[in-house]
Amino acid sequence: MESTNYSIAGKETQSLSIFKKLGILVFTIGILALVELMRMSIYDAEAIKVVYDWSFFGLKTFEWTLFDWVIVGSFTLQIVGAFIFTYEHHHFSIITLFSMHTNWVQKAGLLIGATGFLILVLAWIGLIDGGHTLFLWLSFVLMAVGILVNTYGLYGGHTRGIKNNYVWFNSLSGRGLLGWTSGIVLTLFYIQLYWFPESLDGLVRLFDPLSYLITGAKSSQWFVYGSIYTFLILFLGIKFIYKYRHNRYQIIRTISVIFFQVVFAFSLPYILESFNDYQGYFGKDLKNVWPLNYYGTEGYQLDAMADPKNNGANIVGVSGTFYFVWSLLLFLIITPVLTYAVGKRWYCSWVCGCGGLAETAGDSFRQLSSKTRASWKIERWVIHSVMVFVLAMTIASLWPYFTGKDYVIGGFAITPDIFYKAIVSLLGLSALGGALLFWKRRHPFLLVGTIILVIFAVLLTFAYNEYVASKGKEVSEIFRYSSYSAIGVLVLAAIGGGIYFFKRKQHILAIGMFLLLLVGAYYTYSHFAGVEETVALSSKSIKKVYGFLVGAAFAGVIGVGFYPLLGNRVWCRFGCPMAGYMGIFQRFKSRFRITTNGAQCISCGNCSTYCEQGIDVRAYAQKGENIVRASCVGCGVCSAVCPRGVLKLENGPETGRFEPNPLIVSKEGVKLNM
């Protein structure tokens, strides 16, 4: 204990050691297992239902299907991978400086909160019978009081200001033993939530009283999830506000996310549900925008919106037609306009529920996001791939729906012809916008995006012509075309990536690209060999893949479960298609930027350390450049933690947004200040 040097814990360098490589390998195997599972569930649906028994020393026999095994195994591998990856930075002593200097108020708060949490755990593992109102309220009150008392103990004795003391000495926030434990527990919870909901039954029953109170029906796992989620945003939001009580931007922003979560995401949908008999679309909240809300384009949702029962005079709340029009407005008009005016922060750190949880419950983990250039590269590839995937998936799933019959909503019929023209004009307009921006900014990303949009429009036109020629029979034709283009993109990406990595002597990645090429070749072969089904994914299976890989595995398990391991914005940074969509505006067409204050930066690195999106803010600030990044969610913490008043989030004229700062000598050479 005496010899622990807290300051210099961790190595000086961050190069890729054998541990890191091994960690990446194990993590990747875990992810691949999920992909394989998806493949099997589509093409080999029977195989995943086979039951494999497993008994531990004859004590208990697990009768798990292959599906169950792969799910549990895959996430175990991911956690083990992350563990190995960060091995060199571990400190597993429970008695750290942090625990030594925890005051009695903090300890009391922890104890009270832990007691409340224990009730949830006891219900979870089935030791407490659900249905007792007392237990539920006791648990919530204890946890709430615990959080508040602990917060007071943590920040109450200090003057108002930035007090990130001990963040890296703390076992929970510094990726120590507590961090790992909570990461594993959270992951376990999410796995149960998504794939083994029946195993949460004890916990679900505990919430019955609250559910009856609000919705008049018994609880479900999603109600439990929503309640805990809202509870955490509310009370850890209060903690956040108290921590930043000197900073009005943080206070107002946090009140906003709490409000949108409590009212729009949680209360209104459930309350309206209890008033209206015929449901369908009320399960969602009004602020949930496509493409984040990818299931909003599901056939049953569209059915519900168009249903006369949801548009009558007796409806409480908004009508289906309103919701339909509102969704379109929100996506097509409101989001771009607001993002242009103030940046994507209006959504990501003021309104969004995912962002709300990240900013409140996840605040203790913001410093864990990786700031390396490598992770930035991965981020750009992954988030934009997901975005393109969602666009493809949405068009692919809407097309058969709208060609099936005329969609009548609000007295207006959307025929296949109108649908086709609307989508193609939208794609065309976006492509035009992308091309114009490319003309101005010369950024390769814009060119690629424009080409993708054009490809989609052309594919849709092919499919539409096939549909017209075959008089409505060949509705699945579009998928064949998407298969062609998917293979094309895969092969091109593999070749390009292979050459790129080989040239840069990154042999492992080059081999990865080669493997990708093999996959592409395999698909091409099977296609010409007549096994069309191999590649011609049905719209249902695309959605299944998305729902499983992106919606559950990514947004849930890795997105929140890995808070204590990879930081609080993994989903927002790497996965969220809405963030990707707004990011394009923010990067290329917006008034928002983080301004660097002249030459005042001292390169201390607080801004980069506390950026939850992994932006190396300092890299810009020390050069006197404004920070204009697609991924910035505008949380304002970089500005708050800056000790020298260097950073300011602001909206201003587009002119000069990208211009370098004249006060840094290197920019203007010797003309400095003359």
């Binding site: 005496e2 961790g10 400086l97 003391n165 002249g598 390169s603 000790p643 020298r644 008043g645």
Partner: protein
């Protein structure tokens, strides 16, 4: 072959900017650490805000990618006749161009016990490491020297629940830099911090040690004895030039350079904390030990070495600091003692910790400088005002445009202007924001 001795902000800035214009091999030598780190962030590592690796502004791959060699060794002496550096283990490295950016070391004024164990300054990575060791498990400390590093050290120690006795020689904190109003304002803020005991008008007489030569207390100039287990020496820094003195490079307090940062020896330059100007920039000291000036010198020298010989011209003075929770910035010249022909205007908020100290010329009303506490101001705007010689009236009229506080913060411009109008009988009207600017913050 360009050799840079010292990998602090000056040396690294020089290397980066030379590389932008030249392909000549560059080697940076440091005995402190392989990779460049931000010295100013050491305090955050001790407090647990950051890990040491976060203080490194560039990832390790940056250096090979930019073809800058990093070498960790100690330079023993310089042989300028043969253009050779003699390093530890008698390793000899030859150079074509030599840039000395060796930085500073904490001042020691010959106090008794100043070299005892548990007595140290805070400047280098090694200082941080020894401070971690020296303060482990202790309960009280003494800090000597009322400057910026001292107050940082106090903040660090307080986070570990160590009582701090802070000796300040003058009656006012940082009185040689801050005017009395400003320094009293900061001293008031100190009172909010439990465990911090300020001793003004107090000097160090001697450091008491035990049989193991560890500090166990101090005796002040007034004969008062204060028990402690750690003594922080933060009475300024001086150029780190011991190993240069044996060479033919001329030194005084620092390495003597002309306005082009050239020493008396051809192809040898000195930049940053260790350089001393033979003829200082008018109105500025001959040795400038500030992050920003080090950076500017590094950029200037890069021009000269790559064939565009330019004078060092740092422009208008600016600086910043943070005293616990109060941020401080300054633009232009506000000195501790009021200069003749200058007028002070001080605005201090009744409740919030906000103070703005304007200085302007009595006759012409030309704006001279500002100290701002608890409010962030825009560097660019003030730089422009200083360059064009704006009057105090112009500055106050457009003060809103210089506000750099986060959105939704309280603004003080109208109060400031009202007070100024009241004190000086003027009738300044702040520039109005358009209605839509009020709707959309900033």
């Amino acid at each position: 072959m360009i050799i840079i001795v010292g990998n602090g902000i000056s040396g690294v800035t020089a290397a980066r900017n030379i590389r932008k214009k030249s392909k000549e091999p560059i080697t940076i030598i440091s005995s402190e650490s392989t990779y460049f780190f931000s010295r100013t962030a050491l305090m955050y590592v001790y407090m647990g805000h950051m890990k040491f690796e976060h203080t490194q502004p560039y990832e390790p791959h940056f250096w090979p990618e930019n073809n800058i060699d990093l070498k960790q060794t100690y330079v023993e002496r310089i042989e300028t006749e043969t253009k050779t550096l003699v390093c530890s283990n008698n390793e000899r490295i030859s150079y074509d161009t030599l840039i000395l950016a060796t930085g500073s070391k904490p001042n020691k004024f010959g106090w008794k016990g100043q070299d005892a164990k548990r007595v140290q300054g805070l400047y280098s990575k090694q200082d941080l490491e020894s401070m971690e060791e020296n303060t482990n498990g202790i309960t009280s400390a003494v800090i000597v020297g009322g400057g910026l590093i001292g107050i940082e050290m106090a903040e660090m120690l307080l986070t570990r629940h160590i009582e701090v006795h802070f000796l300040v020689r003058e009656a006012q904190f940082w009185g040689n830099v801050l005017p009395p109003a400003d320094s009293s304002f900061i001293m008031k803020h100190f009172e909010k911090h439990h465990g911090l005991h300020m001793h003004y008008n107090t000097q160090l007489d001697e450091i008491l040690t035990n049989s193991e030569n560890q500090a166990i207390g101090i005796i002040t100039g007034n004969g008062e004895k204060i028990d402690c287990q750690f003594v922080g020496l933060t009475a300024g820094v001086s150029p780190n030039i011991e190993f240069i003195k044996s060479s033919s490079i001329e030194t005084n307090r620092g390495i003597l350079v002309n306005r082009f940062l050239e020493t008396n020896v051809k192809d040898v330059y000195a930049i940053g904390d260790c350089a001393e100007f033979r003829e200082p920039t008018p109105g500025r000291p001959s040795v400038e030990q500030v992050w920003y000036t080090g950076k500017f010198m590094g950029e200037t020298i890069a021009h000269t070495i790559t064939g565009n010989r330019v004078e060092y011209n740092p422009g208008h003075w600016f600086n910043s600091a943070k005293f616990f929770d109060v941020e401080y910035q300054t633009y232009g010249n506000v000195s501790g003692k009021m200069a003749e022909g200058h007028v002070n205007f001080v605005y201090q908020h009744a409740k919030e910790e906000v103070l703005l100290h304007f200085v302007f010329e009595k006759e012409s009303h030309r704006f001279v400088g500002i100290n701002n506490f608890g409010v962030r101001l825009r560097h660019l705007v003030f730089n422009e005002w200083l360059t064009k010689g704006a009057t105090i009236e112009e500055v106050l009229t457009d003060l809103r445009s210089a506000n750099f506080d986060p959105e939704f913060y309280s603004t003080y411009e109208s109060e400031i202007v009202a007070q100024f109008n009241h004190e000086f009988g003027t009738n300044i009207v702040p520039a109005k924001r358009k209605w839509w600017q009020k709707l959309i913050p900033a």
